[in-house]
Symmetry: C2
């Protein structure tokens, strides 16, 4: 359901000045296949407000994400907590006055007393407070960037505990503030979040967790939430905002040009083979040494070993631009029939190149070359 709403809500609304379109790659989630890193606050920042059972339920959610291939990363929740505090303990309450103040002034009896009090209280803030708070928020967003460089997604309780209506009526501001401890920073910091059921307390009441990511990560969060709830992982091709590219030589993990993928935020999706109709050549005069992959329909071989990487779409153009001749970017069919982008080779470079298809892949060929040198070099000395 959330996905259906999101599919509609994501479109640009020309009548809404705050509506945004996804620029290429802004929704990229190359981490969605393979291992991903999820941030969890330190124990000292995890608050459950006296609830006996929700701490265990949260630990279960952590283990569930780990079973899904998630790598738990400790993060500093302080910067998010500070941003959350700005929402009600700062001039942003005046933004609510901008939205509903006129209505409140007209008919305050239709409005909850506590809500009216809080919003009317915002008139104590001056414009200079608003600009100072905006600077402070920018600073917190910048500090949060360090935390986001450590994780792909942030896992939090949606609320540390739950309260009865009577309890909230008796102590509304403090208890509501407790309920918002893990959520109040999300809008201010321009983040996306999805709340997912996270089990039940023994009294039958529910607990939930939130998956939080940068702006435009909505689709990725929904996919992860689906897997958390037991959906199977979809096809590797369904990676929002990413282009899949098969590499067969110098861009393989550990090889000299792999950094061109890493520095563009690409992630390894899988190692596999091409369809059986590809041949591999060791090219002449390339530095570092590179292979050339060529499709020959009707060839019935064993396929060539490749790695498939997911590259954010806005980074892929620069990656392609950096590819030197005789290498080209075309389409490569994998052993499971999927077609992805991949390195191929201009025909002229094959004349004089050594066919190495029988090695089944570039690394096997390189290992073989080394062994041969090791074996042959000493024998030459004899």
């Amino acid at each position: 359901d959330a996905n259906a709403v999101w599919q509609i809500a994501q479109w640009f609304d020309a009548d809404d000045p705050y509506s945004r379109t996804v620029t290429p790659g802004a929704n990229a989630a190359p981490w969605l296949k393979g291992p991903f890193r999820f941030g969890v606050p330190d124990d000292s920042d995890l608050k459950f407000f006296g609830d006996d059972e929700t701490p265990d339920l949260f630990q279960q959610a952590i283990r569930k994400l780990q079973h899904m291939g998630g790598i738990r990363v400790p993060i500093d929740f302080g910067v998010f907590r500070d941003a959350a505090e700005l929402l009600y303990a700062g001039p942003w309450v005046a933004e609510r006055f901008a939205a509903v103040g006129d209505f409140l002034m007209r008919e305050s009896k239709g409005v909850h007393k506590v809500v009216a009090e809080i919003i009317m209280g915002s008139t104590k803030y001056f414009a200079v407070d608003a600009y100072r708070a905006a600077y402070k928020l920018e600073e917190l967003k910048r500090r949060a960037m360090v935390q986001w460089s450590l994780m792909d997604v942030l896992l939090l309780p949606t609320a540390g505990t739950i309260y009865t209506l009577e309890a909230v009526d008796a102590d509304p501001i403090r208890l509501n503030s407790n309920l918002g401890y893990y959520t109040n920073f999300v809008n201010l910091m321009d983040l996306a979040a999805v709340a997912v059921p996270g089990g039940f307390r023994t009294d039958g009441l529910p607990f939930g967790v939130s998956l939080i990511g940068p702006a435009f990560s909505d689709q990725a969060l929904l996919r992860l939430a689906g897997r958390f709830l037991g959906e199977r992982a979809g096809r590797t091709s369904e990676l929002p905002g990413c282009v899949l590219v098969a590499v067969a030589g110098a861009h393989l993990s550990g090889q000299p040009l792999n950094h061109q993928l890493m520095e563009r935020g690409a992630r390894l999706v899988k190692s596999c083979r091409t369809a059986p109709d590809y041949r591999l050549f060791a090219l002449k005069d390339t530095a570092p040494p590179k292979p050339g992959l060529v499709r020959e329909p009707d060839l019935n071989g064993w396929g060539i070993e490749v790695e498939v990487w997911s590259v954010p779409e806005n980074q892929f153009g620069g990656f392609v631009a950096a590819v030197p001749a005789p290498l080209v970017i075309g389409n490569v069919v994998l052993d499971d029939g999927q077609t992805v982008k991949g390195f191929l080779c201009e025909p002229f470079a094959l004349s004089g190149a050594v066919e190495i298809t029988r090695f089944g892949g570039w690394l096997n060929y390189l290992n073989h070359e080394t062994e041969e040198n090791v074996l042959t070099t000493p024998s030459k000395q004899l």
Copy 2:
């Protein structure tokens, strides 16, 4: 000099929460080669505040840009003028109080009386005014997007006229407001601008014009300003934030896949030929019909007709991803020796393809095909 400062100032400053890095394509200026569109306000919005000579000097600047290949586009300056008014006639003066208010309170005697008055006057604004004005600015930015879709760059007088110090002292707020009529919206609307000398009045005093573009267009504006001041256009390869791609078939202007370039904001840079060592084939079974370009070193032909398009870097990845087999994106050498990206072809597709190198290009071949059909079809009926 401005370029030297910009080269240094553009880098990310981790200590400045408002510092930003250029994301791929954000600085793209595919319009920098070939015809570009420059916006000029309607006469009713052009104010020279009684100056007799600056209106002519501005018209000269317009003609100069036209001689450089610029296409004059009338735009609605109202939305920019409204944003400019927000700066001093709205709560943003309180942002200045946030910056220097403490200093003002301490030692007001070191500060210009008028400046102090304006900034101290900002204490009348409440936080709710700041949020309302922020909404208003967002709305104006959105309305300005329509104007930016009409033009690549905005040409304005930097100031409509100039005043003596005495005149400003006598009527400081009104005259300063006149001086800011063409500039006060630039920061608020997140734009980039460069001011360029625009000639002299007969009394020897200077007039200037501004070239204004979206955020991160700094490098493009400086290049255009350089040409305005008489620098020669640089190499076609020096297009910030763009990738040059040579197209030889269905992506040519007027051909069925040209829209894939247009809808990504690409611009035609030039029509030319490849280096002499390329062969062209009409591929079998492609829809729409496509040619395959293949390099054959040592071939001494006449080159193949291509168009070179500049594509914003963040859009190029999606463009490459959409290229179907047997076409690939590799490097193409042009007749002037420059290497750009371009469409090439997998070797397997050449078997059974018809070589059409002798036509010199895809359009010639298509024309020839049509003529042949026109000539042969009726004769068959005889």
